[in-house]
Symmetry: C2
Subunit: 182 residues, 2 copies
DNA sequence: CTCATATTGATACTCAGTCCCAGTTCGACG
DNA sequence: CGTCGAACTGGGACTGAGTATCAATATGAG
């Protein structure tokens, strides 16, 4: 149901652009009222970004599964396999999605806000590994690690889109994240 | 003139919160019409964020001044001295500003958008240093460096706000940026 | 069958941001 | 001194997102 509306919204956004698509239009095509639409999705963009909802916990789980003595940066890189592997069989789908997200300012903004939620989940895990002689919330370290990793992820996806998927997501993310540790 | 409106907007935002302040209200206090306000500032939040307008070129200049053989990460850290040193004599002013920015989602969003502009200026400079065997736009490396550095900067400022300025901006940024290279 | 609850939709509202048009100021030029 | 034009300003209307209220309808338990 949510998925159906999401699919319609994604199609319309791709066809006409996000800004030229009104909530009214999405609701009409999905056979529900504007009011009901906003009951399901907080904003217009959320309809498209719903597919990311489970990713935060997924990332946290993947990070927890990494060996505790691994360098956090490496663990984060491996946790991101969850993302680089999405639609591995049909990368065109992910490509279209990220094109949609990266090309529209509002969409990118909402996307980054969702990622803020990921950070909240990942930061405590990283903080636990770094060993906390500094009280949490006063040490920017863990959050800096996570935020930078997410930044690298976004840069990778951005590059992936702009080269039309010619280079693999994994290769781009490897490059992005390794340049920081050299 | 712009500065005057900006000061009024900043005061109102701080007093009542950004969301509870309308453009109408700012315009009224500043003695101009709603229409004219939007002629000066693209959005409500821009009125407050105008003070960042010169920072992009400032950062680029600071980065250019660093020795070419210095590690880009170090150069970026040093370029950020331009920012950590703002209002060095009256840090309370910067503290209030960042509190305003970090505590409101919309404001934070606009702030990050402005920083995107910085990135566009800094990425070419970093790319030039890294030596470009890979055609620009296909190598996520330079942008990953810059985006991560900016992420570290933001995390530092966020921490600075949440600890009420108890630790210096420079110390926090040093810590944030060094944790990536260990 | 009935009552309670949840879902829906219609309507109205606020506010941001855009657009167009008319009035004003002000300096250049005759 | 008068006038023309450009730049700035304000008024007002418009679109569209997001919120709140309320009535109508469906659903499910007893």
């Amino acid at each position: 149901m949510r998925a159906e509306v999401s699919a319609i919204a994604t199609r319309l956004f791709a066809e006409q652009g996000c800004d030229n698509t009104t909530v009214e239009q999405i609701a009409a095509e999905a056979g529900l009222s504007r009011t009901t639409f906003f009951r399901y999705f907080g904003t217009k963009e959320d309809a498209v970004l719903t597919c990311l909802d489970d990713l935060g916990p997924g990332l946290a789980a993947a990070l927890s599964d990494r060996p505790a003595d691994e360098h956090p940066w490496t663990s984060l890189r491996r946790a991101f396999d969850v993302i680089t592997g999405l639609n591995g069989d049909a990368p065109g789908k992910s490509l279209a999605f990220h094109r949609l997200v990266e090309e529209n300012p509002t969409m990118r903004t909402r996307h980054r806000e969702k990622q803020q939620g990921w950070e909240e989940l990942l930061v405590p895990l990283v903080a636990a590994r770094l060993g906390g002689d500094v009280p949490p919330g006063r040490d920017p370290g863990p959050r800096a690690l996570v935020a930078s990793a997410v930044a690298c992820l976004n840069v990778s996806m951005q590059t992936w889109v702009s080269c039309d998927g010619a280079v693999s997501r994994d290769a781009l993310l490897d490059r992005a994240m390794s340049v920081l540790t050299e």
